[in-house]
Assembly symmetry: D2
Homo-oligomer: 350 residues x 4
């Protein structure tokens, strides 16, 4: 019953097999190997267009590197108030960009309010040296609240970006979960909707750690190469990252794994929302749930051995917990958790 | 006959086995797992004292992070003119430190001239706001020229550092090769000699990619934690890096692998130095050789399928090539290379 | 009728005289001159304690330098949502700190809501490497809304800072206006209330450009010296900045000039608030007014030759304008403006 | 007899008069005033082409800002080993560029060896992400050794820059002294020779402090505006800097002041070189002299009240002193110094 994070589980067997298989012979280092070349082709096929790929070891690195390529040092990056780039990256975007500014846009259920975004961008003074200049928007897909931007919403963000002369980045640490939820082709919610750079994560969904920065604007690629190297992110034995990602894509493994994780989240959601005194803070569209319940019920679940984080305290005596499912979540564990939750909820009401 | 680099080969089977073995169950992420805790203990035992360990995915990251913890933004870092931090890291130290300065010290055979180092430090104006202030020395062990600092030399550098009030970093991308050559305990050429932080590499000697920053001064650890995270270097599934490094240390695998690489380099050196018109640019003390020979001989070797880099042109018509051996170098390949070299050298003379 | 800013007027004659008088003979450069030494003593007397003084040429430089000395690269600085450091410095704090983060706290009338500030600081995760760490609070005194923090409010901010282990900076670009309004000794709203570093401005109140960073914590002084120099802010002929500031302080010139500016603002406020359809957005406590009136009235004032900025549009058809008075504002101009406003307001109503 | 620096004297009376004259009425701030507009025109006339002008308060700021506009964060800037940007700016170029690297080129008498420069640039690996990429050359004119690059030498540097695809910056802290020495039009040793950006100093030659960054490539101007503001260098009451510089240019004041300074240096040189045991380390082409003499002679000069810096110790018992003359140097002081030097030299020989 470990629902702490989708990082706590290991790698899928097929990924591990690919890693072992890649451990043959001598190949050029730093990404000049055949596996890395094949990965770039795989991703070109997946996205239906030419792409440039920069593998990185973490999602924070992928995001910070992307933003560094998209914004000048005096730029402003618009992000959701609860975005990972703001809350969980220890100012990595500020570091990588050389001091650009994050500007926070609120929005329900982890999605930026796009009207506010448009209004903020329209109101920002341009060509005015006293103010940092609008440079980029970053969307998280799926969001940090376990929800998903619709294709229309992403297109709207892309249109705003073009109108306002800024670039669009997508933090896709859980891109697979979003694609599965939407049932769309990756192109439809990325470059075709106006996304310039995508952080395409895989570690949360079955690899050991291999996050692809997928660059749709080839003009960004040259700077990206230097930015990655001077950040210490250019992995010598790159084949091992590339091999993981190839295995991740092969036979749509990434989609089937995310499909399982999403299904487990839905199963949890269905089970929980029928319990008395239990409510979901956000729609469950990917693999994260934010559940409000009485403190004693939370304590009871902890005592029962369930693993999760206490996230917030929406009201006195009420705790919001975060549950994360993964490709490896066992339905039996879900059901066991629901059993405990049922007892705890009943207990919490008394 | 691939002598391009010790990065072109894969991982040792025992490392791969450990990786596979680590892929069990759920564990806390970001280094709070049992494997990572055990690694810190392993390294404490190896060095004979308490240490703090920060795993990073590349040697450039390990070096830049170390230097960022050791120097203020207005500091000067003293490095050999040909050091990796200067030549091969695309200004990563400058980026990570927030704009500190590298000051280059020459020295034969890849080793800083310690008299010059001492003189430069003694002459640097202190408390003088117009000049960047001496902050750190960084030694590469083994050096970029395939040589090794003796324990006395490291101790001398440590004494200079203490006298001059600066910190001492060691870039140990090939630390194993140095330890094997010297036959000393790791402590003797690190903390006991005055080293504050060691970049302890493993990727060049048998892992997939796992570079340990070993911090001997516990006061540096807090800053290091934040510096690592904001650089995007904090790996979520850390167990996989830690497991590699544990396997690397277990049963002195690291020393036996480096011993093999060094032996292969020595075998090459012995074979080459007896050839007419062939000379070694530096003593061969680790796993790199820099060999001067006539251009036609170099071309002949390339034609024969040997892999190496043309490094420099020490004289018209003479090319210096770099040969790197590794834990995986096959003695038969060495001998085959020597056979070709013998023919090429004879040919080069005619 | 130029109410654009307190920067549009020149320097007070006494300041100019002091500048001319300082132009005698040879003196050491870079602040090692007798005038600069005397200034440090003057400020020590003014504040009733030892201080270290770092003159800078602009308020943005003074703020950014102060914050760079107060926060680590992974720090968070808490500022009002409308603070100059956020809105008008083109990400200078981010640049100078090496990528620290500004976190915006709302609050009425330009003053941070101190309850929210305390709650935000208390809620910020500490020792958690994923999040930038609380490092500093910056208050603007007088605020960007033309209001003033009371001594109690500053003391409260100081107490919060101490409790939460962060530093307190004061942006005193209009410090004189605040002191005059409150009628307190400078110490009472600075170091004695917990302020660690004060940006003590003078350019807006009668000098050509000389902003003193007054450091109350002597431990910060060493870093500040290097930070200032590497920012290109160490003025060679420092005597000319110091002489301006000495003249500014002499005979309480600073207070009498600010007293005049404040009085002119009050005169404007009194005249405006009695007009139909005109309202003040904020209390007028210093030398800035934010006035809401109908668009046609604003246009009429512009047509009459009045100089001011259109600041916002609080409601459709209503414009908020900013009026700034200064030490040089002529009461006759104020009255002329009020005459025009009276006509415009009457006109606006029809 | 104060020969410490050309910074120790004040401002020329005409500059001070212009400053006083500029103190009239209200004008827009931040450089949008008529004086600043007129200055840009003055400089366009002087250089015989359109220019963009960015006033800064110090030479370090002017240089760092220029280099920040000319080099990417992963760039290398080639400078003379003894250049001000390397020795006397506390790593400001590294800070402003976001971590670019200075690469030092030796050369006699303060002038970069242009053959070495060309060779170094030609040898630098391009498009190779492991190495910082050649981005800019910076020449100091007049040099830190008191010498001057000939127009041919500057043109050669410009040609090298174009061939190698890098930009050319000129640190003209003593540009006036160079122009006077060469007797050429400013264009001839700047844009017409390939210079992209000039730091045109004036503080060392008669102003209080006003260094013009003159941008010859209009494409750089937009970035420069933001870079200047976020560095805290955008002076609100800009008219006072611009007025100084206009006065400096008017009637060729700048050339006549530098002419005097150079003549005083020549007078010193002539007097000193005839003395026994005294030698000049560099040709005297501007307003700085580097003089080698016996230690007792130096001590005797110090005792006599002469002001200068001990610069180096070229041989045991021999001290190299630096003497700097200025627009304000009194010939009688020069002669008095020479009298003392004559006695000291005679004494030093005994």
């Amino acid at each position: 019953m470990n629902f702490h994070s989708d990082h706590v589980v290991g790698a899928h067997p097929k990924v591990m097999e690919a890693l072992v298989a890649a451990n043959q012979g001598s190949v050029p280092s730093y990404g000049n190997d055949p596996v890395s070349a094949a990965l770039e082709e795989d991703l070109a096929v997946l996205f239906g267009r030419e792409v440039r790929v920069f593998m990185t070891p973490t999602g924070t690195a992928a995001n910070a590197l992307s933003l560094a390529a998209l914004t000048p040092r005096w730029g402003t990056i618009y992000a959701h108030s609860e975005a990972h780039v703001e809350m969980d990256e220890c100012a990595a975007p500020e570091f990588y960009t050389g001091g650009a500014k994050l500007s926070l846009v609120p929005g329900d259920h982890g999605r930026m309010d796009l009207d506010q975004l448009a209004a903020r961008l329209a109101a920002a003074p341009r060509g005015f040296v006293h103010a940092a200049q609008p440079a980029a928007i970053t969307l998280t897909q799926a969001t940090e609240a376990g929800t998903v931007y619709t294709p229309d919403q992403v297109r709207r963000a892309g249109a705003i970006a073009r109108e306002q002369g800024v670039r669009l980045h997508m933090d896709g640490a859980r891109f697979a979960n979003a694609c599965v939820h939407l049932g769309v082709a990756p192109a439809e919610i990325t470059w075709d909707a106006g996304v310039d750079v995508l952080s395409f994560g895989s570690a949360k969904n079955g690899t050991l750690g291999a996050e692809a920065v997928v660059v749709f604007d080839p003009e960004l690629a040259e700077a990206m190469g230097y930015l990655r190297k001077r950040a210490g992110l250019l992995i010598p034995k790159m084949r091992f990252l590339s091999a993981q990602f190839r295995a991740y894509l092969a036979g749509d493994l990434w989609l089937s794994l995310a499909g399982h994780a999403n299904a487990m989240a839905t199963r949890l959601a269905h089970g929980l929302q029928s319990l008395p005194g239990v409510s979901l803070a956000h729609p469950v569209e990917a693999n994260e749930l934010f559940v409000d319940l009485a403190e004693p019920a939370v304590a009871a679940l902890e005592k029962a051995g369930a693993g999760f984080y206490r996230w917030a305290e929406p009201a006195p005596g009420t705790v919001r917990i975060r549950l994360v499912t993964s490709w490896a979540t066992d339905p039996a564990e879900v059901d066991r958790f629901l059993d405990h939750a049922s007892i705890a909820a009943a207990h919490g009401r008394r």
